[in-house]
């Protein structure tokens, strides 16, 4: 170190939530996340400062990493949401909007921080225990014997990201594919602990979305000219190498080797490799796959003996290929390859997708590996489609852990909010004593919590309309901006999740006061199916993470920022 710079003293902010500048920034972030929320959310262009590629998205997993703030409190919230997304993929915007609303509402209602923390925690436990209850009216059981709810769940996720620019038919196509892929990765006939299979995703630009397809087995891109006549439906003996077959001997160590000038070590090694090749040919291997590089001479030798050679496969595809062929990779060059190390692959054929040529490998028997080929017209939309696909995949898998879903379209939020308000009012005096505050203070805290939940439901509307809730089931309805009084009296059609149709004539707008009531469950009215569903596991976790993060931010009294 030639130069020593003096470290600058840290920048401190006392009571950050009382600081107008900090609040302004929090508000800005909330507005930004709100505008992305829902199927009619606004898209954002993300571009870096040196004019790199522009991404168009409304997904929190794309937008949040691109946001940079100098305010540590914002970064704290951002990381919490990102951590949630990395575990559950879904409900990132929900967590962000809810957390920021909690902070903003608490400040607007001048609620003491320590009290807000306690009440938030209490309301959260009310919500989670209600959601786990059997008679919870906003939860839907997922029945694996019918694909209806799975399709609805996949469809809601795909339509919540408008940047994919899909038509209704395309949405249906993609969600059917997603559900099929999910069902194919569950092995049917293995007792004991189940290992889920894998879906490998391949993207192709320039083809219509409806060309996207699912294939059992693996599609591996090849650049070599593969002779179509080689394709056959018989079983092919396969070998996998995880070590380099290029003739480098890395395992000898770091020492130096001095060779006699007359001695050609490269030739010796090549001889050894050809020896190996000879054994493969003798053992009637028809497909030779290597994770790393294969020496060109060896490749030529193998090809001339009718062996299909694939090199530079990469680490990511080794495991699915091993599962598909039912074998383990080989890494020894000198020993004889035991016959147990050979696997089998069926139906080698080539497929052409746009400009990509792919080799299609299929398993002999049932192996839970499949490939999804996603097509879209241009790269930006394809990127977003990939994000959504991955998210759908994760959410569908989460249903295996907890076979439930929550009503979408803001209905869960309004329902929970009405429930919490009702419960809070009922138990105000006891709970307030337990939390060591007055009942009035407690109710104010409950109001802040409910308002924040309502705020999330309201964020679904972006076209100037307003949000309403019926006073019977507490579901969420959107009223378009140009609707008149008569329109409202005549009924609003279906609620956000599509389960309730105009059953109540009593409405309240979501940003107004209303008398508490106990939201009634839907009785017997089972002919109607929900049209929008959200992931249960992801949403419950998002709810918890949002409240905990808000509590944390409320608890911060001092910010020290190292500016070096």
């Amino acid at each position: 170190m030639s130069r020593v710079e003096k470290k600058a003293p840290s920048v401190c902010t006392d009571l950050p939530l009382n600081n107008a500048e900090v609040c302004e920034k929090l508000h800005l972030m909330k507005e930004l996340l709100k505008s992305c929320y829902g199927p009619r959310g606004r898209l954002k262009h993300v571009r870096n400062n040196i004019g790199g590629r522009v991404t168009t998205s409304s997904a929190s997993s794309v937008i949040l990493p691109a946001l940079y703030s100098s305010q540590p409190l914002l970064n704290l919230i951002k990381t919490s949401v990102l951590n949630h997304i990395s575990r559950f993929s879904d409900c990132g915007l929900f967590a962000g909007v809810f957390c920021l609303s909690l902070l903003e509402q608490a400040r607007r209602h001048e609620l003491r921080e320590s009290l807000a923390i306690k009440v938030n925690k209490h309301c959260l436990s009310l919500c989670t225990s209600y959601l786990q209850r059997d008679d919870c009216a906003c939860r839907v059981k997922i029945d694996f014997s019918s694909s209806q709810n799975l399709m609805t769940l996949a469809g809601s996720i795909i339509s919540s990201k408008p940047a994919c620019l899909l038509t209704e038919a395309e949405k249906l196509h993609i969600s059917t594919m997603a559900v099929r892929a999910f069902l194919q990765t569950i092995p049917c006939s293995s007792p004991g602990p189940v290992t889920l299979g894998q879906t490998v995703t391949v993207t192709v630009r320039g083809l219509p979305v409806l060309d996207s397809a699912m294939f059992p087995g693996l599609l591996v891109e090849t650049h070599d000219d593969f002779n179509q006549t080689d394709s056959s439906s018989e079983l092919l003996r396969t070998v996998l190498f995880s070590t380099s077959l290029a003739g480098d001997l890395a395992e000898l160590g770091d020492g130096t080797i001095e060779a006699d000038p007359n001695l050609d070590t490269d030739l010796q090694i090549l001889d050894q490799l050809l020896e190996l090749g000879k054994q493969l040919v003798e053992d009637e291997v028809r497909l030779c796959v290597c994770q790393k590089v294969i020496h060109p001479v060896l490749q030529q030798y193998l090809r001339s003996h009718g062996v299909v050679v694939m090199e530079r496969l990469g680490m990511a595809l080794m495991e699915p290929l091993g599962t598909l062929a039912g074998t383990q990779p080989v890494a020894t060059l000198h020993a004889r390859i035991p016959s147990t190390a050979y696997g089998r692959v069926k139906n080698l054929s080539t497929k052409q997708f746009g400009f990509k040529t792919m080799l299609h490998l299929q398993a002999d028997g049932e192996a839970a590996v499949c490939t999804a080929v996603l097509c879209h017209r241009n790269e930006t939309m394809l990127d977003e489609l990939k994000v959504v696909w991955r998210k759908t995949e994760d959410v569908l898998r989460l249903t295996l852990k907890e076979p439930s879903a929550l009503l979408g379209g803001g209905c869960t939020e309004t329902h929970l909010s009405a429930y919490v308000k009702h419960k809070g009012q009922q138990e105000a005096s006891e709970t307030a004593a337990g939390l060591r505050c007055s009942p009035a203070e407690f109710l104010l805290g409950v109001k802040v919590f409910c308002r924040s939940l309502d705020m999330v439901a309201r964020s679904l509307e972006h076209d100037g309309g307003s949000s309403a809730m019926d006073l019977n089931h507490a579901h969420h309805w959107t009223v378009s901006a140009n609707a008149s009084e008569e329109d409202m009296a005549g009924g609003l059609g279906l609620c956000g999740c599509g389960l309730v149709e105009n059953s109540s004539t009593e409405w309240t707008f979501l940003n107004t006061e209303y008398a508490e009531f106990c939201p009634a469950p839907l009785l017997g009215d089972s002919c109607r199916k929900p049209t929008v569903l959200d992931s249960f596991t992801a949403k419950v976790n998002a709810l918890q993470v949002a409240v905990e993060t808000a509590n944390l931010a409320l608890d911060v009294r001092y910010v020290i920022k190292d500016v070096n």
Partner: protein, 614 residues
């Protein structure tokens, strides 16, 4: 002569008060958190005084010395860093007040400055004398009887839990205190060595803590839990899962399984003189290493081994051969985890070149992949063996929405274990503390006499002294200790100079702690004081019970705190105050690159050895 800066008492006080202002935000039951971002952009949350102070990047050498002694103190006891600053500030304030008022009345006007300068070190020495000679007896006679001893069996009961809960109350967000203390209690119970002293198991936990926890972000705190056995923070290198056989046999490798033919610096000469023979071919050597690897695998197979743990990354060939032999391999296991594993399973690791025997094989009851957050790790559980039967090994999984929070909780639990260790320290401390002290002072430079003093302050205070209290002695929190001790300190009216006595100074400083605890309502302070005083006058009433019964609503028992920790805290504070007050000048030297320059800038004129050296 380097540029120097006078360091009057007022300035010392100013510096310490500035530190106090930062710490006060998170002090006491109403305190909040401090968020700080490092220069790397990483955000951290903390209520720990030590973390907050060390994040400040202080410029002034004196402030740095204070922070360093706080750091050393809390590393030793795990507790009391915020109270440290608070006590120090009010002690210095008291001394400053006394010196500015006292002598001016009796001395001529012109001498005031000099007299003031002399008075502060005088107080400091007196204080040090007082605490080093009488403090332990004072506490033993006047404070300990009002507390009680918690035995380790109590950890399942109320008081042990209360001790932990009140510790967490000062360190993490309020809503998670009870959850964390339950979790910690459960962990301590499982790790309890039934035959040994509690201290031993705390020591073990504290030593192995890094290998015993896993932070997981993206989940709510309430998902934190204990899981059986040990978590090895690596994934399997081989795709296949361990076989279903019971028990799982495991071998630990510290080196490569495939022998390295040429280490750095070795030279292999090929083909000189002999012409081309099979032996001169490079392929021959490469084949030899592969054959010896095969023999190792065959040996393992004959022993029925199905799991290999390795400290290093093995070669591709080793991974492939192990996979084909249906063994699972876990590579790059950290040293800490491997040493814990070796301790718990009682196995001998295989090092380079030794043959594998039965003593190298350990048995596990299971070994399975475990998904924690975004990572897949390996969970192993140990079979009942004579060595491990005493404990029920478990690991801690700490969840939080972000990395900052999980780190905070982990820090808090680690410090809690450290605090318990101090509390249950056996009456005779071992020699290790003493030897550590001498080792540290060796590092100091001989030319400057203050360095050894600082180090002995900063080190565990009075390491040579025996611990005077029964292990596990606790007292109700919420200022009880401070009230009792301040009352017990001898109170002679004033000494001959008209200066207040040092014990009075200390008593006043002590009272500032409960005053700060009840800062939101002065009425509560008086109530608490009156209640404790009345209980002292009525000794028939068993104190610990009395407090709980007579407590009015809003301040139910604030929990318990450790007497030993409090005692060590006062010792450390007085030591720090003494060393700070003895300094009167800061010398700014020009050796900024020197690593120990921080200590060199502090220079004392007051010391006599200094003059002797000159």
């Amino acid at each position: 002569m380097p540029p120097s800066e006078r360091l009057p008492l007022e300035q010392v006080l100013e510096i310490v008060s500035a530190l106090e202002a930062v710490v006060l935000r998170s002090f006491g039951p109403e305190g909040g958190q401090v968020l700080f971002t490092r220069d790397t952009g990483q955000a951290m949350l903390s209520r720990s005084g030590t973390c907050i102070l060390s994040a400040l990047h202080l410029e002034h050498p004196l402030a740095r010395v204070v922070v360093e002694s706080v750091w050393k103190h809390s590393r030793g006891t795990g507790d009391g860093s915020k109270t440290f600053i608070l006590l120090l500030a009010s002690l210095l304030r008291g001394i400053s007040k006394a010196t500015s008022r006292g002598p001016s009345a009796s001395h001529a006007y012109g001498f005031t400055e000099a007299a003031k300068a002399a008075a502060a070190p005088y107080f400091a020495n007196k204080l040090l004398e007082l605490v080093s000679s009488d403090l332990d007896d004072l506490i033993a006679v006047n404070v300990v009887p009002y507390g009680f001893c918690v035995s380790l069996e109590d950890f399942t009961t109320h008081s042990g839990r209360l001790l932990l809960a009140s510790f967490f109350h000062t360190r993490v967000s309020h809503v998670h205190c009870s959850y964390l203390s339950e979790l910690t209690c459960e962990m301590l119970n499982r790790w309890k060595y039934k035959s040994d002293l509690p201290y031993i198991s705390f020591q073990f936990l504290s030593d192995n803590f890094p290998a015993l926890h896993t932070p997981v972000s993206g989940f709510p705190v309430s998902s934190s839990r204990l899981i059986e056995g040990q978590v090895i923070h690596r994934d399997f290198a081989t795709p296949c899962l361990p076989s279903k056989q019971q028990p799982v046999k495991v071998v630990v490798f510290t080196d490569y399984m495939q022998p390295i033919l040429l280490s750095t610096g070795d030279v292999l000469k090929l083909g000189y003189g002999g012409g081309v023979t099979p032996e001169s071919s490079i392929v021959h050597f490469s084949a030899w290493t592969e054959r010896s690897l095969e023999s190792v695998i065959a040996e393992l197979q004959s022993l029925g081994v199905s799991l290999l743990l390795s400290a290093v990354k093995q070669s591709d060939a080793a991974v492939a051969l192990a996979t084909q032999a249906h063994m699972s391999l876990v590579e790059c296991v950290s040293e800490e985890e491997l040493s814990l594993f070796v301790q718990l399973s009682g196995v001998t690791p295989v090092s380079r070149g030794c043959t594998i025997q039965l003593e190298h094989v350990a048995a596990l009851s299971f070994c399975r992949p475990i998904l924690l957050g975004g990572h897949r790790y390996v969970q192993v559980a140990f079979c009942e063996s004579p060595k491990s039967s005493k404990v029920n090994p478990c690991s801690l999984v700490i969840c939080g929405p972000g990395e900052g929070q999980t780190d905070q909780y982990i820090c808090a639990i680690r410090d809690a274990v450290c605090m318990l260790m101090t509390t249950w320290e056996p009456k005779h401390t071992s020699e290790t503390t003493a030897s550590r002290g001498t080792l540290q002072s060796d590092k100091g430079t001989a030319s400057l006499d203050m360095t050894p003093t600082f180090q002995s302050t900063a080190n565990k205070p009075y390491g040579l002294k025996k611990c005077v209290f029964e292990p596990g002695c606790v007292i109700p929190a919420g200022g009880t200790f401070e009230f009792l001790l301040s009352r017990a300190l001898p109170n002679p009216s004033s000494d001959t100079n008209g200066l207040p006595s040092v014990s009075q100074l200390l008593a006043n400083a002590l009272l500032s702690v409960p005053r700060q605890i009840y800062s939101h309502s002065p009425k509560l302070f008086l109530q608490a004081q009156t209640r404790i005083m009345s209980l002292v006058q009525n000794p028939s009433n068993p104190f610990s019970l009395g407090l709980k019964e007579s407590t009015p609503g809003p301040m139910v028992d604030l929990g318990l705190e450790s007497v030993t920790c409090k005692y060590q805290l006062i010792l450390a504070v007085v030591q720090c105050a003494t060393s700070v007050l003895r300094v009167d000048t800061v010398l700014h030297t020009r050796t900024a690159l020197h690593t120990q320059s921080k200590k060199h800038t502090i220079f004392s004129r007051a010391s006599t050895e200094d003059e002797a050296e000159d």
